[in-house]
Amino acid sequence: VKNPQPTCACRWFAATAVLARWCLGGVFIYMGLVKALDPVGFLKLVRQYDLVATPILLNSIAAALPWFEVFCGLLLVAGVAVRGSALMLLGMLLPFTVVVFQRALAVAGAQAIPFCAVRFDCGCGNGEVLICYKLLENFALMVLSAWLAAGFGRQLSLRYQLLHPKRAETGPLAPQAPLERKSR
């Protein structure tokens, strides 16, 4: 059967995926802009992680990362290269979460306090937070990124796949429950 009628559950699922895409994009635009507007503050926070040895690398991370997050967020909101952008975000969130976790562990050990009582500005864009909440938030963002990278949230996209967009429309991940109003 060609173009079967989507079920109600299918429509809700598709709509949820699109909302997730917009939310994820919006979160990264906001967090990226907060850091991009105060690059010196972000530079100081990145330095605290002691990740790189040379000033040029440290400066490059602090200078480019916030704008890169804004870029990926915009792509997700607009629906351009959605899977590639989501994969990039997942690739950034994973190491960020690891280094935040490691630093929180070190702080908890140094101050002899429970892990979930550790609170600091991790440089994530939302100021000083309880690290347990931050890790939960990052986990949720990673799940959303993985979901989008797996091929969901396709509807209402300007150019869902940057490379070979026509193949995507007929491939196994083609839309099953389009939200767009069909004009033809």
Partner: protein, 207 residues
């Protein structure tokens, strides 16, 4: 999967190029080749030391030990730390009015405008070019220069002092770092000026 990989690589490449371009044209952008931190990260930079020392919410013993650490860190960096009593003494010295003693605020514009030690010069060492023409002649004349930032674990006063010493050839004997910083100064009810340097305006609700 291969297509997804190449799409991610393309996003990474274009995104990185645009990100560096945005940094380059942003008026707040960073200079990639500059060493903004002329000293390694401090091991005392634990978040609790930073915030609690300023707010005074640590126990007296912890505060004292944090102060000792900060003082020794400043000394390790070849600078001379001073406490609030010495800072107050220098502020009340007749030499301050004659510009033989200078106070230098190493914080950013927002913090400086919200309140600074009266007649203190501003030197945001992350963007020093904006202040050097005003501050350098004054530093050459001055006999003692007190540099401060927010206090607590804030390192900007040290970096500004190191900048003056290493890049502006100010003799290190002149340079003093006020460890308690502006927060300690203001919470002790000492004079504060808001807005521009020399505005003479006091804050509406002094702390």
């Amino acid at each position: 999967v291969k297509q997804l990989f190449w799409e991610a690589v393309l996003v990474a490449g274009v995104g990185a190029a645009l990100a560096f371009a945005a940094n380059a044209i942003s008026p707040r952008g960073l200079r990639l080749a500059r060493d903004y931190f002329p000293a390694p990260p401090s091991r005392t930079n634990s978040p609790s030391v930073n915030s609690n020392l300023v707010t005074g919410s640590l126990g007296a013993t912890n505060t004292q030990s944090a102060l000792v650490k900060l003082t020794s860190r400043i000394r390790e960096r070849g600078l001379e730390p001073i406490d609030i009593n010495r800072a107050r003494q220098l502020f009340n010295d007749p030499g301050y009015a004659q510009q033989l003693i200078l106070f230098v605020d190493a914080r950013d514009d927002d913090h400086y405008r919200q309140g600074h030690i009266p007649n203190a010069y501003q030197l945001d060492h992350y963007r020093p070019e904006r202040h050097l023409s005003e501050i350098l002649p004054a530093c050459l004349v001055a006999q003692q220069i007190v540099v401060y930032c927010n206090g607590g674990d804030c390192e900007d006063s040290e970096f500004a002092a190191l900048f003056l010493r290493d890049s502006a050839s100010v003799p290190k004997e002149k340079l003093l770092v006020y460890v308690g910083g502006f927060t300690e100064w203001a919470t002790n009810g000492l004079p504060v000026e808001i807005g521009e340097r020399g505005s003479g305006q006091a804050p509406q609700n002094p702390r």
